[in-house]
């Protein structure tokens, strides 16, 4: 796609350099890279993600200068960053909110890829590297969240390590190796800090491979139609997409700044401002928002299947939700890339996107609470009958129940409770979780066979010309 290099060194120095380390040529070729001329703003999220990674690394290095990885001092050292270090509040707020912005961008980037079929032949490796990056981001963010040593840090990491412990045979040893002791403690905190520092650089390395792999077939585009004529279908990356990406990054940074300066704690959890106390778990324990859909899938599995207990099944479902992403290029059997031309797949994709976000809400809510109530609350009388059996009488009439209660002997221990009926978050997460897997494992494989796609434009240039209503290719000539 990139074709032969068109760079020509002009000065004596650049000529000298070009024969030794052609790094200037490398940069020039990157800037000159032929890019489809019809990319929309969903394509700016790659650049936004690069900016996010750079921001996390720079702010993280600064935080590491002041942070102390010791269970006695970690919380206080983070408080010191917030109160005593000049601009420490700013740098920590950027880093903590930066993680959220990073995930926001990566989710948009991934949904973009799914909608426009960017994972299909010949871009499978780009997609797989992307899923690897996403997985490493989750690991990095999880370990980062442990570092401030708040209540959520501690008990959240306890939950996750216990999850891993649920895997048969290898689970327990892995868990012990992760924790380095009988419970989350100093050894855990130190290794998490070390890995939290390392993994972002591993991510940066995989980003390089991701972009390398991208530069072999070149960018996909909203039509999904391959570039046929480099002259007519593409424009050089610079200045066309440097400016477009730059503009999008600025808009994104405005949203970012809004959180950092006005709502720095909106995405966090109040319990993490309380120092870790191993003797007391917070009443409501949830991960950060970007992990909630997986948490919902984990909790949705409340039933055993044959010999597999619910706990293990939940873990399998949760990891499975990520594993399906790796094999997505082979699950989707349709040759048509862009869902613009796949009416059925498009609708199912929209439902999938809503289901994923909905799973996030399920993860944030208590599974036994209600999404909505079936009707007004009722009252129930609970007591022990003469055969020592528990009894429950439900009614709308409080006064009547009250009378029944006083009629019962004191040994019945009668009490009146509110009784509500509603649609449980658990059920919603089971429905949405089922849809998540159906979409990947049933709908996408089948649709490629049974769906009749709409006609596609003959070329990128053609689709651009149609959109702008000009008959001649003159306006788009380059």
């Amino acid at each position: 796609m990139s074709g032969p290099s068109t760079y020509e060194p002009k000065s004596g120095f650049t000529k000298w350099m070009d024969e030794r380390l052609p790094i200037i040529r490398f940069g020039a070729d990157l800037m000159d890279f032929p890019t489809p001329k019809n990319l929309n703003y969903w394509w700016t999220f790659g650049g936004i993600l690069a900016a996010c990674l750079a921001i996390q690394i720079v702010t993280g290095i600064v935080l590491a200068m002041h942070y102390v990885a010791n269970t006695q001092m970690a919380f206080a050292s983070v408080e010191r960053i917030m109160r005593d270090i000049d601009f420490g509040w700013l740098i920590r707020n950027i880093h903590a909110n930066g993680a959220s912005m990073f995930f926001l961008a990566v989710y948009i980037h991934m949904f973009r890829g799914m909608y426009y079929g960017s994972y299909k032949n010949p871009r499978e490796v780009i997609w797989i590297l992307g899923v690897v990056i996403y997985f490493l981001m989750m690991a990095t963010a999880f370990m980062g969240y442990v570092l401030p040593w708040g209540q959520m840090s501690f008990h959240g990491s306890a939950v996750i390590t216990n999850l891993i412990g649920a895997i048969p045979l290898i689970g327990e040893p892995i868990k012990t190796y992760l924790m380095g002791g009988p419970a989350i403690g100093d050894p855990t905190l130190n290794r998490f800090f070390s890995l939290h520092y390392l993994l972002p650089f591993v991510i940066a390395g995989i980003v390089v491979l991701h972009i390398w792999a991208l530069h072999v077939p070149g960018n996909n585009n909203p039509t999904g139609v391959s570039v046929k004529d480099v002259k007519k279908d593409t424009v050089p990356f610079h200045p066309y997409y440097t400016v477009k990406d730059g503009f999008a990054i600025v808009i994104f940074l405005i949203l970012f700044a809004l959180f950092v300066f006005y709502f720095p704690n909106a995405l966090g959890h109040a319990d993490n401002s309380v120092e870790a106390n191993p003797l007391q778990t917070p009443a409501h324990i949830v991960p950060e928002w970007y992990l909630l859909p997986f948490y919902a899938i984990l909790r949705a599995v409340t039933f055993d299947i044959g010999p597999i207990p619910a706990k293990l099944l939940g873990v399998i479902a949760m990891f499975g939700a990520i594993v399906v992403l790796f094999i997505l290029p082979w699950l989707d059997t349709s040759k048509v890339r862009s869902m613009r031309y796949r009416p059925v797949a498009r609708s199912l994709f929209v439902v999938f996107a809503f289901a994923s976000v909905g799973l996030g809400f399920c993860g944030a809510n208590d599974p036994d609470k209600f999404v909505f109530n079936f009707g007004p609350d009722k009252v129930a009388l609970v007591y022990t009958d003469t055969n020592r059996q528990p009894q429950r009488e439900v009614s709308d009439d409080y006064a009547a129940l009250r009378a029944r209660q006083s009629a019962l002997p004191p040994t019945a221990g009668a009490a009146i409770e509110v009784q509500s009926e509603g649609f449980k978050w658990l059920w919603l997460s089971q429905i949405l979780g089922a849809y998540y897997f159906l979409y990947f494992l049933v709908f996408l494989p089948l649709l490629g066979v049974i769906e009749k796609p709409k006609p596609r434009p003959a070329s990128i240039a053609d689709s651009v010309r149609k959109k702008h209503g000009s008959a001649t290719p003159a306006a788009a000539a380059h």
């Binding site: 010191r80 109160r83 740098i91």
Partner: protein, 193 residues
């Protein structure tokens, strides 16, 4: 397309060769430079001593506890200071030094501060404990070596200080510095960085 046209179309009244595109480039580069500077500032400033570190930058010392003819050493924010209780002989030798050939001329009186009663207290000399050559901590009466002039001796490269803390011999260019301090009572001093 029009943006290509503007490359060569001069703005009315502007010098030939200057284009709207140039203006956009300069404006964009200026805004970017401003943004980079605004972001760089907090990232550099975070390296400065933090508020809690700055808060630890003074200490009170009870000078009546210093034995006659010796000194105590205090660390303030990690920096050493000497508080010396001079004998009448040492005070006399310091006064005598006022008229000697000095590398960094200063009278002994100029190196003292007024006590709570408004008079100089020549018995108590407070100096920095950092040799002005390359920053070693000189040895003094408590370490058994006071150098050729009765004050301090720096073992690193052989600087000799007199009983007023003035450099008299060796590579040090300046006298031992006098820190900021004041008497908060007849016997208490407060030293600040």
């Amino acid at each position: 397309m029009s943006e290509h046209g503007s490359k060569t179309a001069p703005i009315a009244g502007a010098h030939a060769g200057e284009t709207r595109r140039d203006f956009i480039h300069i404006a964009a580069a200026t805004v970017t430079a401003g943004g980079v500077a605004a972001v760089a500032w907090p990232f550099v400033q975070q390296l400065a001593p933090a508020a809690d570190t700055r808060a630890l930058s003074s200490a009170e010392v009870d000078v009546s506890k210093v034995p006659l003819g010796s000194e105590i050493r205090v660390l303030i924010g990690g920096q050493p200071f000497f508080i010396r209780h001079r004998t009448p002989g040492e005070i006399a030798s310091a006064k005598a030094g006022d008229t000697a050939q000095l590398r960094d001329p200063a009278t002994d009186d100029s190196r003292l501060v007024k006590g709570a009663d408004g008079n100089l207290n020549p018995a108590i000399l407070v100096t920095s404990g950092t040799c002005t050559h390359l920053g070693c901590v000189p040895v003094g009466p408590a370490q058994g070596s006071v150098g050729e002039f009765g004050g301090w001796y720096c073992p690193c490269h052989g600087s000799h200080y007199d009983t007023s803390g003035r450099v008299r011999k060796g590579p040090a260019p300046k006298n031992l510095a006098i820190p900021k301090y004041e008497y908060s009572s007849p016997t208490m001093i407060k030293i600040s960085l």
